[in-house]
Each structure stands twice: as C-alpha cells, then as structure tokens.
C-alpha cells in the first residue's frame, strides 16, 4: 500500500463538511420557521462554496489529494473520502453554480414569507441542497458502494425537481426519468456486487492496486458503465432528458442540465481511467466515443428542429454530453506519460466546466425570456433584444461557448480535443467536433437572429424581472467565456493525485 495515501491529511475534514453541511441544511430547512427557509438554504450554500474553495486551495497548496478516513477506519474495512485535483475543481464548479442559482431562485415558486407554507419552495430548496451534498460525495467518495448511496441521493433529489410544477406532462417526464435512473442504479449495483465478490473490497485505491485483467472486473465495469450512461443520458439512452429538463422550472433545469448529469459522468471517468487496467480499454473507449459522436450529431440535429427554446436548450445538452465521451478514445490513445497529462483530458474537463456554466446561464435566460414575454416559442422572439437586453446578452455569451467560438471555455475545450484528435491521427473525431460546432451555430443562431431583429410592432415586456436575477444568469455566462482565457495546455492541477499515477 502506498504510504501517505491511506491516512487523514491536514484539511481532510473539509471533505466531511462538503458532505455533511448540505445534509444539516436540509434538516434545518424543515424545522425552521417558513419565512427563514430561503436564508437557511442560501447560508448553507454559501458555507458550501467556502468549503469547496478551501478544498481547491488545500489541494493546490499540498500538490496532493486530501484524504479523510471516516471514523478512523482504514479501507477496505472503512470508508475514505478523497479529493484530488479534478474533484476539487468539480466541487468549486458545483458550489459556484448552485450558489448563483440560489440567488436566481430566491423569491420564486410563489414564495411569500408572510403567507402559509407552500409546497414548491420547500421541495425546491430541499432538493437543491440534496443535489449539492450528493454531488460533493460523488466527487470525493472513494468506495463504490458509498458512491452508490451518493447516486441514490442524487436521483431522489433530481426527480422531484422535474415535476415541481405538478402538471400532467412534467409528471410523465419525471416518471420516465425515474425509470431510466433506477434501471441505471440496478446495473451499477450489480457491478458493485461483482467487484466485491471478486476482490473483497470496494475501495477504488485498494482496487487499483489489486486489479488484474480478469473477466469479473471487465464485466463489473461494463455493467456499471451501462448504468451510469443511462443516468448521464448518453445517446441512445437520452430519451428521458429533453422532456425532463425542458419541463422543470428554469432554476431546476439549470441544475439538472449543468450539474446532475455530470455526476454520473464523473464516475464513468473514474471507472475507466482509475480502475480499468491500461491497455484493455481501447475497444470500449472507441465504443463510448462513437456513442458520443452519435449524441453530438443526433442531439444537434434534433435541437435544430425544436420550436420552443427550453426544448432546444435541452437537446443541446444531449449534444454537449456527447463531446464529453470523446475523452475516452482521445485520452486512451494519447502518447502522453499518462492519460491525465494529455490534451484530451484537460479538454474534456474544460468541456464539462464550460458546458456547466454556459448551460446553467442558458436555462436561466430561457426562464427569464418566458417571464418577459409570456412564452418561449422561438418564432415569437422578434424584438427580444429591446425588451430584455441583459437576458439576450446572456444567451449570446452562453451561445458563443456552446458553439465553441473564441474566446470561450467551449472554444478551448474543443480546440484541445481537436488538437488531440489530429495529433493522434484520429481525424474522424476531429470531423465530429467540427460538425458539432457547425450544427450548434445553426441552432443558436435560430434563437439569436430573431432576438436581435427589429419587430414590426414594438414588443412589450409583460412582467418585470428583478435585475439581480438577470445578473445571476449573466455572471454564469461570463464565467463560461472567462474559462477560455486559461492557458491552452494540459493543467497540472487536473493530474494531482489521480490514482493511476500514484500507484505503481
């Protein structure tokens, strides 16, 4: 066993806080006075953001993972929490987006501090905190069953958000989501059982040292990957996503599309790059890449055909998830010292980050459009730029990143992946990336062209919108752009503490 890996490190307690603080927030939410619930939730998310930033700082300062042995029990008997470079980045991304979403959602859902308690605010804030805690655990969990518990938390928190409005259609969408997600859970759990039967441990670090090229491990990874793909909505298991993400209220859609689907993706990354013995994954990685390519093309084409803004944005998520899966063939095929030092690895993480910020901004903007003009039919967007200039600016900036135009996080991500593909002579992936960018330009210009055009009759804003809510969406879009100013090279941060690197 590698010394230093299996002991609590200074700052390890931050990882416990990342999981426990949101849970305490949920319990408090149901016990405090009704008028205080928004403040309880916002205070919890503020503390969570500080914890995430402190975690990132601690990982950077020590240039190593943070580790916490829960209860003082060492794996494989006990559970360890561990934050490496990429986990810390994911925690900060999650913390920032949920905190901004909270500002956007404050006062929404019919919240009236002086009236009686209402259903929708209680459910929304509860589930927002639960998603935060569940994602944190997914990022820092190290035990496959502990991660299963995190996935369950995430599912049970995400599904009620879909049907928050309570209409017939959203209930059907939520039910369909639940069926896909639970089928995914069953497959994942089956894989966990196979791993325990074969290795007698579920700890990823211990497993990474014991792993051999045996059938049980391959079967387990195949089962778990299949389950997680259903939860991530990778083509062709994406059918649940568009109605679910488009039917939820805007603040919830932002979280579902930007963050929730990334949780299960993060676990697939861990399985493939930490657990799968090197050299065995080439065929599977190409398979995942092909599904990703299918998602990019099919998702974009379907997005082009949507009449309503929220459905278009939801189909765009299907397409953008596809890019994430190009990491598997590109990082596996790279000639860098380890996959984590490759262009594709950094490109994939950048795509995840840029999409999270841009998509959260886009869904929030879609909600604001709906409030401003009372509908979200793209055909009726003429003159939107005059009615809601900040919202249209938000959509424009987010679109720049989604299309992959410079300077933006989306551009950097696609540029790095493109360079990786061409560097490896895998031109076919490059074609997919370029085609996806063109199609994305097609669907975002369908929104932006009418929004910037002059209407025949002067359009009017139907309802006022608080400037702080418009600014919340704008801030996220600006961050998606700013990510594009990071250096176009592999980040050393993303390779800190990856399991495959530290074990021989």
């Amino acid at each position: 066993m590698t010394p230093g890996l299996m002991a609590t490190t200074p700052g390890g307690l931050l990882l416990v806080l990342a999981v426990v603080v949101p849970v305490i927030g949920i319990l408090a939410l149901w016990l405090v006075r009704w008028r205080a619930i928004e403040w309880v939730a916002i205070a919890t998310l503020a503390i969570n953001l500080v914890v995430s930033l402190a975690t990132l700082q601690a990982v950077r300062a020590s240039d190593a993972s943070l580790v916490y042995l829960v209860g003082g029990w060492m794996p494989p008997l006990g559970l360890a929490l561990r934050a490496d470079g990429i986990a810390a980045v994911m925690m900060v991304m999650t913390g920032a987006i949920v905190a901004v979403t909270a500002l956007y959602a404050r006062g929404q859902f019919g919240f009236d501090p002086h009236g009686p308690e209402r259903r929708r605010p209680m459910v929304f804030w509860t589930m927002l905190l639960a998603i935060t805690g569940a994602l944190n655990l997914i990022f820092v969990g190290e035990d496959l069953f502990n991660l299963y518990v995190a996935l369950e938390l995430l599912t049970f928190a995400a599904v009620p958000l879909v049907s928050l409005d309570g209409s017939r259609d959203t209930l059907a969408a939520a039910l369909r989501y639940l069926v896909f997600a639970l089928a995914g859970s069953v497959l994942y759990l089956l894989g966990v059982a196979v791993v325990y039967g074969a290795y007698g441990t579920l700890d990823l670090v211990v497993l990474a040292e014991m792993r051999g090229a045996d059938g049980a491990l391959l079967l387990a990874i195949a089962l778990m990957t299949a389950g997680l793909i259903a939860k991530t909505a990778l083509f062709p298991l994406h059918l649940w996503l568009p109605p679910a993400h488009a039917g939820a209220p805007a603040a919830a859609s932002a979280i579902l599309s930007a963050l929730v689907v990334k949780g299960s993706f993060f676990l697939i990354l861990g399985l493939w790059f930490d657990l799968l013995p090197p050299g065995l994954g080439a065929i599977g990685a190409n398979g995942l890449g092909m599904l990703g390519a299918g998602a990019v093309i099919v998702g974009s084409v379907l997005a082009l055909r949507q009449e309503r803004l929220k459905l278009l944005v939801a189909y765009s998520t299907v397409a953008q998830i596809g890019y994430l899966f190009l990491v598997f063939p590109l990082a596996t095929g790279s000639e860098a010292a380890s996959p984590f030092a490759s262009l594709a690895w950094t490109g994939g993480v950048l795509q995840l980050l840029a999409h999270a910020f841009a998509k959260a901004a886009m869904f929030m903007a879609a909600g604001l459009v709906y409030e401003a003009i009372g509908h979200d039919r793209i055909a009726g967007f003429k003159g939107l730029g005059r009615i809601a200039p900040i919202t249209v600016l938000t959509m424009t900036l987010a679109s720049v990143s989604l299309m992959g135009l410079p300077p933006s996080g989306g551009f950097s991500a696609k540029w790095l992946m493109l360079s990786a593909a061409l560097g490896e002579g895998a031109w076919w992936w490059a074609v997919v990336i370029l085609a996806g960018g063109l199609l994305a330009a097609g669907y975002v210009f369908r929104i932006l062209v009418p929004a910037f055009s002059t209407p025949e009759a002067p359009a009017e804003r139907k309802y006022p919108v608080a400037p702080v809510r418009e600014c919340a969406a704008l801030v996220l879009a600006v961050i998606a752009i700013l990510i594009g100013f990071l250096p176009l090279a592999p980040w050393p941060l993303l390779a800190i503490g990856r399991i495959a690197q530290v074990s021989p």
């Binding site: 307690l13 319990l27 559970l79 308690e117 209402r118 259903r119 509860t126 655990l137 049970f156 074969a198």
Partner: protein, 312 residues
C-alpha cells in the same frame, strides 16, 4: 441430500414466481406474485444464513413495498396494458440473457479462496461493544453509508410529498379513508398491535448482538402504525406539524450530532469514544428507529390530498 432438495425447490419456486409475475396481465395478480417472490427470497437468504438480509427482505421487499404497490393499484383505473412490441421484448430478453450469462460466468468461475472482509470485521468488533458483525459494519465501519441512507429514505418521503396538490400542502397524508369502526379490522388491530410493537422493539434491541436492527424493527413498528390507521384507531398527523417533522429528522440529527462529537472526542467524524461506543450506538439506533418507522408509515400513507383543516 435433503438440504440440496430444499435449496433446489426454493430456487425453482423463486424463478417460477418471478416468471409468473412478469407474464401475468393483471396488476393485482402481479403484486401478489411480487410479494410471494419477496417471501421466497427471504427463505433463500435464510438458507444462506444471512438472517439480517432475510429479515430486511421480508420487511421492506415483501412487506412495505407490497402495501405501497397494492395501494397504488387500487387507485389506478383498470387498464389493459398494450402488449409491448415483439422487437422490444426480444431485445430486452437478449440483454437480460447476456447479463445473466456474464453473472453466471463470474459466479461459477470463482476466485479461490473468495476474498472476504469477514475476519477483519470480527477482529475489530470488540472496540465497538457490538456482538453482531452486521451491526458493526452498519454503525461503525460504514456508518457514513448508514447515515446517508437514512437521509435517502427521508428524501424519498419528501419526494412523495412533492406530489401533493398545492391546496393540500400541510394537510394529513393520504386520501380520506372511510374507516370501519366495527368488524374484524379494529378488533384485529387491537389484538395485534401490542404484540407487534413488542416484537418491533425486541428486534431493534437484539440487533446489537444478533440478527435484527433498526431498519427491520422500524418496519414492524411502521406496519403496526399503518394497521392502526387502517383500522381507524388513529390518524396520520398533518405533514405541516412541527413535532412530526422533528420526529422524522430526529434520527439523522442524533446521528450527525454524535458523528460531529466524535471529531474532538474520538479523533474522527463518526468515531465513537471506546468507553461510550455501545451507549452512543444504542442512542443512534433508538432515534433512527423512531424516524424510520415514521417515515415508512408516512410513505405508505402517501401525499396529502385534502387541505389542512378540512378533513372529515
């Protein structure tokens, strides 16, 4: 020889009932099949000497889930489900066959000797004051999982409550049930409930040293509560009531409080000071039993359907 025959019989019955449950076209029959399947699985776990799992399967898998399904099916309009297209059925069958074959291969070609943490689990058990290794795993080694699972159960209840019509928020759970104030059910309730409550508490108590524990015991307590509600002996409390919410949250609150106290007192989150380990674990178990029993009972009762203050 007799053992083998018994095992083969249970296996054949499990598979037979599973197939029948999938094949049957009638909702009610399928649910009955599902409950029977749960009970057969209970026998299978008991044959494997996994008594804790057997108890949980009987209580949760067959019991609570069966009741929830029955209540749901009563409320569904009788529908004749259209037959799934043959192509889809073949595809699903093929996928299931592939997964089963893979699992069979893994199980039939075992690593020798199969690795296990059982020895490790036992050797550290003394420091927790527990006698049942399962309790050791749940309350000490993997206490974080147990803590978060109780939060998952609570979230499932909040998820069910999220389906409440807006006007009914804060009201009593479930549709107003016309209750029978005479007849067999109230009598049955009066006779069975005291016995059931004693059994439930006993199962929680012995869980520290023998098969049993809070989840199984809480399910029995919840079942008694549900029986009392169905017999009209008591009503589910309105979901807006603060004391009810405190009861639901009590388990996780005590758990997290003991966990945090472990940081200064025992050097780690969810660690117990050795002298106090057993009493602290019992404290958590008692609080969790109450919370889980209340949560399960309310899950069965379902989301409120009438506005607060307008019940019969």
């Amino acid at each position: 020889m007799l053992d083998l025959a018994l095992d083969l019989l249970i296996t054949a019955l499990v598979i037979g009932v599973a197939l029948w449950t999938i094949r049957t076209r009638d909702d009610f029959a399928a649910i009955v099949g599902f409950v029977a399947y749960g009970l057969l699985l209970t026998l299978a776990w008991a044959r494997l000497a996994a008594y804790d799992v057997a108890l949980t399967e009987a209580a949760i898998g067959g019991g609570v889930t069966g009741v929830i399904l029955l209540r749901a099916s009563v409320r569904l309009k009788p529908v004749t489900t259209a037959r799934t297209p043959i192509g889809v059925r073949v595809l699903v069958g093929l996928l299931c066959a592939v997964i089963s074959a893979g699992l069979a291969a893994v199980v039939l070609l075992p690593v020798s000797p199969p690795p296990s943490l059982a020895a490790d689990v036992r050797s550290h058990l003394a420091s927790t004051g527990l006698g049942n290794p399962i309790a050791g795993v749940l309350m000490a080694y993997r206490a974080l999982d147990t803590f978060l699972e109780t939060v998952v159960v609570l979230l499932a209840l909040f998820g069910a409550w999220s389906l409440t019509p807006d006007r009914a928020w804060g009201g009593r759970p479930g549709a107003p049930i016309p209750t029978a104030s005479f007849g067999p059910l109230p009598l049955f309730g009066r006779l069975l409930i005291p016995i059931g409550v004693v059994i439930g508490i006993y199962i929680v108590w012995v869980g520290a040293d023998a098969p049993g524990g809070k989840f199984q015991g809480a399910t029995i307590l919840a079942a008694m509560w549900i029986l009392a509600m169905m017999a009209g002996l008591t009503e589910a409390p309105p979901i807006g009531r603060w004391r009810l919410r405190l009861l639901l949250a009590a388990g996780p609150i005590v758990f997290v409080a003991v966990g945090v106290a472990g940081i200064p007192l025992a050097g780690s989150f969810l660690a117990y000071p050795e002298a106090l380990a057993k009493p602290l674990i019992l404290l958590i178990e008692v609080a969790l039993t109450l919370s889980i029993a209340a949560t399960l009972g309310l899950l069965v009762a379902g989301p409120p359907e009438t506005a607060p203050g307008t019940e019969l």
